[in-house]
Subunit: 344 residues, 2 copies
């Protein structure tokens, strides 16, 4: 078994740890945020951490009604602009807490009067020490190059934080999540492995979804590139309809992540259209109609609302590692890439 796979299987415990360890700091962050009357949040992150930030953006906007921007690091690191982040909370997300660019943006935020929060897997990292508050991912050391445990740990902390910042918190009991994930792994592991192996020879995927699972589609795409060496591009079904759908022809491979949700009707309409255009649709879904129209489908356990990104994340992480294995790639050490990339 690869180190990467082994690390994924430990995710339910990591989620448990994140919930327990950060209760206090997250309450403190929410109190300070409200006390200061802050209206806007800015995130800074790259890669997997940026995908987690996308989830945060969706959920804190949807349940917290707080607008979130994404900071473009080069504005600080190359153009040297002192962007005014007064009235903002900066959320800096970095597994290592060592990225130079994220650090420079956090320093700019402090200098211009922002409240600053770091989310890292190392309480002794420079980023954790620089920011006013630190949310600890407690994922243990990741040995494989591709992020494994951190993505779901980040999603968990983002969920907790969104909920705490929200004037009317969501009803989900996140403490129920670890057993749900454990059950999902047990029930679905073998099926996902078969699904991944059956798709291993296909290249150049379109990946579609919409809403809360958008971050999961981005992470699937990133991991397919880094771990399986396959080009892919994620779209929201809506953005895809708005032009790029022109590329679909007989045999175009499309993966759709389609949880039964506010978007069920739209997912069904899109899958119908894709089928008529001759696309090969591969789906992760619990919607029967979409399963029927798919060339191949992995049947997800039903999961609603804020739960769905967690189960879909677990599914795509396992999918990618099994696909890599079936391609004969060691997912622990992808070619051309390093664990910590120091960029500016």
């Amino acid at each position: 078994m690869s180190v990467m796979l082994n690390e994924f299987l430990d995710v339910p415990n990591v989620v448990r740890e994140v919930i327990t360890r950060n209760k206090k700091v997250i309450a403190e962050i929410a109190e300070e945020f409200k006390r200061r009357g802050i209206t806007n949040i800015t995130t800074v992150a790259r890669g997997t951490s940026d995908n987690a930030a996308t989830y945060f953006k969706y959920i804190v906007e949807a349940i917290g009604h707080i607008i979130v921007s994404k900071f473009t690091p080069s504005i600080t690191t190359v153009y040297g602009a002192k962007v005014n982040l007064h009235n903002n909370m900066l959320l800096a997300v970095s597994q290592s807490g060592m990225s130079t660019d994220t650090l420079m943006v956090a320093q700019n935020a402090k200098d211009t009067g922002a409240m600053t929060v770091a989310v890292t897997n190392d309480p002794n990292s420079p980023l954790a020490k620089l920011c006013d508050y630190h949310v600890y991912l407690a994922a243990g050391q990741e040995q494989s190059v591709g992020a494994t445990k951190t993505f779901l740990a980040q999603l968990s902390s983002m969920y907790l934080l969104s909920n705490a910042l929200s004037p009317s918190p969501a009803k989900m009991n996140i403490a129920q999540l670890p057993p749900i994930l454990e059950n999902f792994i047990q029930e679905s592991k073998k099926g996902i492995q078969d699904f991944a192996e059956s798709l291993k020879d296909i290249n150049n995927f379109i990946i579609l979804t919409r809403g809360l699972t958008q971050a999961v589609a981005s992470e699937l795409s990133l991991k397919m590139m880094t771990t399986c060496y396959k080009l892919s591009r994620p779209f929201s079904t809506c953005d895809f309809m708005h032009g790029p759908i022109s590329i679909v022809e007989e045999g175009t491979p499309v993966i759709i992540l389609a949880p039964d949700s506010e978007f069920t009707e739209e997912f069904v309409a899109m899958t119908t259209r894709l089928s008529l255009l001759g696309a090969n649709v591969y789906s992760f879904t619990d919607i029967q109609e979409i399963q029927n129209m798919s060339k191949k489908s992995f049947k997800m356990l039903p999961c609603r609302g804020t739960n769905s990104p967690f189960l879909y994340s677990m599914a795509i992480e396992l999918f990618v590692v099994y696909m890599a294995q079936s391609l004969g790639i060691n997912p622990d050490t992808p070619r051309n890439a390093k664990k910590i990339t120091i960029t500016k």
Copy 2:
């Protein structure tokens, strides 16, 4: 000659119109923005308009030091959240001014106390009428389905607006832009046509750039999908290095937009690395070293800083329309797509 090509050739006149017609309203917007002490800007847009919003985000952050977020329409249209945009200016960009989703987000912005600005090509559109201010693109009617004149018209208005909002405006004299664009079209049209034809049989491109031309890379990718039916994915060189570079192997096609700029060294380093990995690099550049390392290269006229997105946009627009023509596709009516997409 296709309608689309004909429309591109009219761009210098459109840019002239945008500058003349919007002087007054842009000064008024800037005055109101400063009077209210607004700290954050939020954009809402889709497709080409969203790529123009990306340019706006870069430039207003770099020269204006004002942070910009991008509004995710589904948060309002599907999740029904009343996102608090007090302390924000909403910039709603839509060629037609008719998109339901953009309208709903603008209404939410008004309801929560934001200052609102519409950028459209129709002063009588619902969006133009709903917002506090209207910036008029004055591009005339676009007859081809893919946006042609609007993208550069949008960039021009975004530049004017960024400059007006900035405490210390940039030095560029935008009135010099139309003759520069005219000269560029004359000098480069034939070369771009040859370049496009020589690449027409290649599929599944990676597109790289960084900084102010990021929006241009996104637009190139969007147009390649909608007009040439080719999958492509844009990255910043930095994000690409951070993982996705794993996919590069012998023969991987990469287009790099590399203006001589703050990023020259990084572009050269990236191109060197790509060459060593065996990628086929195709470049739009005025950097001699990158031309030398490219399998094919289109030599750009030198252009610095805020000018470069305009010339590179003109180049990629012509590139795409010539590529479509050489593929035997009528770029005026791409398959599967409509001119106005009503989405929520």
